[in-house]
Amino acid sequence: MTEKELTKKSIEYRKNILKYIFYANAGHTGGSLSCIDILNVLYNHTMNVGPENFSSPDRDRYIQSKGHSVEALFVVLADKGFFPEADLNTLCKYKSHYIGHPTRKVKGVEQNTGALGHGLPISVGTALAGKLDNKKYRVFTLLGDGELPEGSNWEAALTAAHYKLDNLCVVIDHNKLQITGTTEEVCNTNPIDAKFESFGWAVKHVDGHNFHELKDAFDSIPFVAGKPNLLIAHTVKGKGISYMENVTKWHHGVPSEKQYEEAVAELDNAMITIPDDF
């Protein structure tokens, strides 16, 4: 997919994220908007996975540790044809499988997540199974920067390096905000890169909204043979909706009808003003 096509996709995805959160009157808006460009590139450029090969042991795996940004994942999975998009009208409704965190009851979801600090150990096991079986698949794991203080991440980071899991790529959605405030004031985890490097990982930084940089980074896996990959994606929480960007309360804020219309108008405008020079 070209960068222009990816740009269009992301605008559609953002519209859908807002639409279903607005309908459900619930959701994690800011974080879904910060990670959506990463998911877009993974599912439409990088990963070998879709409804047609989802039961194949050779498929690439995506595990979303920051499970609360599930709206981003559901919107992309619907677009990939895992399930009809209309299913998302049941988001957070009684007896719906489309709940506020990823669950395998929804086709295309690899693991049930939601409690933070769980995605990385599971991903390490998944990548390790690939190495044991000489499989070529890769495992992509999305972590929130706010969940880095969970100790289980660091336990798993050690194991990943110990077993030289260069088939594992962790992406940190580094939007620098969490529910209480900035990650720096809540629990400073900086410098993230030096910490992972000292644990034996190969680390790269990208602008998490720049398709060119994201594609290039994923195309260069393994960054260093024999080392697990960490991509620190610098993102903006609430990206794409001016009044939400970098505002803490939009972590799980739901727009009012007026705010929703305003957001849709901003995205519609972004669609018609995509430059031709991609």
């Binding site: 693991q111 409690a115 769980h118 390490v124 390790l128 690939g130 336990e155 798993a156 194991t159």
Partner: protein, 320 residues
């Protein structure tokens, strides 16, 4: 007290030894059998396994949350995973991983809690697991098993390897004498094993407390009291049909477990009986809700009456 067992009494082994040997047999014929340890290969008697099948042994270091998470990931790729760690750490430190990554996520990991109950004796409460039945009973989609003797342990391990549900298996490190001379019982999770028959009292025990229960039954027989002893090796799903049958035919029911009296086998039985209108004299023998007395496993058993004399005394009191 008659429950101190010495190895010279026969060829009996610890359940831990049986676990280790059974796993080696399984691994020889199945490359998908994996053992994951948290620096527990020594405590789990798995060093020979690791030497024989190095590619089937994953070591994660002392990191139990990671142990269970990694095991869940491996199981999701079709591996038959045995995650081995002392029961105390496995079911407390990694409880959220068991709940979410294994049970809720349908990743069929076999969680092996070694040195369970008060096996670590004088090492103290940090190393005891008297909570594991209780916490895991409240989690959906996990089978909870405490095999009593070598026969049950071997059977349970083989069954766990081919069961596509999460299983928690716990045992201690004491040499366990066989409960029966001839072991031709069918072993199925969820079906209690009747060790001896009697109409006066049903003693329903689990794990390493079944043997002292059997000793108590022998002592009671000398006093004219006939006891049924059941090895209720599966705590969940509980064999409620056997429980109901025994409660209907016997005059009293006593449960015995190496676990807190809160939330374990005894309360599971009591809950079933009460909710099904079955009322019989009933007593739970286990570790009371207090700072556990210090000492060896046997000292602790003796202190709380988890022995021939103590169990027999409870039965006689109930039948008065």
């Amino acid at each position: 007290m008659g429950t101190d067992i010495v190895i010279e009494q026969g060829k009996a082994k610890t359940n831990l030894d049986v676990f280790s040997a059974t796993l080696q047999d399984l691994a020889e014929h199945d490359r998908d059998i994996l053992v994951v340890t948290s620096d527990s290969r020594g405590s789990g008697k798995l060093a020979p396994f690791g030497q024989k099948y190095p590619s089937q042994h994953i070591e994660v270091g002392i990191a139990e949350q990671n142990l269970v998470g990694v095991a869940a990931g491996l199981a999701s790729c079709g591996k038959k995973v045995f995650a081995v760690s002392p029961a105390c750490f496995l079911t407390a430190r990694a409880l959220e991983q068991i709940k979410n990554d294994v049970a809720y996520s349908d990743n069929p990991v076999n969680l092996i809690g070694i040195s369970a109950g008060v096996s670590y004796g004088a090492l103290g409460s940090t190393h005891h697991s008297l909570h594991d039945f209780a916490v895991l009973r409240a989690i959906n989609n996990i089978i909870i098993v405490a095999p009593a003797d070598n026969f049950e342990t071997g059977q349970a391990i083989k069954l766990a390897a081919k069961t596509d549900l999460p299983v928690y298996l716990r045992f201690g490190k004491k040499v366990m004498l066989p409960l029966k001379e001839i072991n031709n019982d069918e072993f199925v999770f969820g079906k209690g094993r009747i060790i001896t028959d009697g109409k006066d009292v049903a003693i329903i025990a689990t794990g390493e407390t079944v043997y002292p229960s059997l000793e108590a039954a022998r002592k009671l027989k000398d006093q004219g009291v006939n006891a049924t002893v059941v090895s209720m090796h599966t705590i969940k799903p509980l064999d409620t049909s056997l429980l109901a049958e025994l409660a209907a035919t016997c005059k009293a029911v006593v449960t015995v477990e190496e676990h807190s009296v809160n939330g374990g086998l005894g309360e599971a039985c009591a809950s079933y009986l009460l909710q099904h209108g079955i009322s019989k004299p009933f007593k739970i023998i286990g570790i009371p809700d207090e700072y556990t007395v210090t000492g060896s496993q046997q000292d602790i058993f003796n202190h709380y009456g988890i022995n021939e004399k103590g169990i027999a005394a409870v039965v006689l009191e109930l039948l008065k």
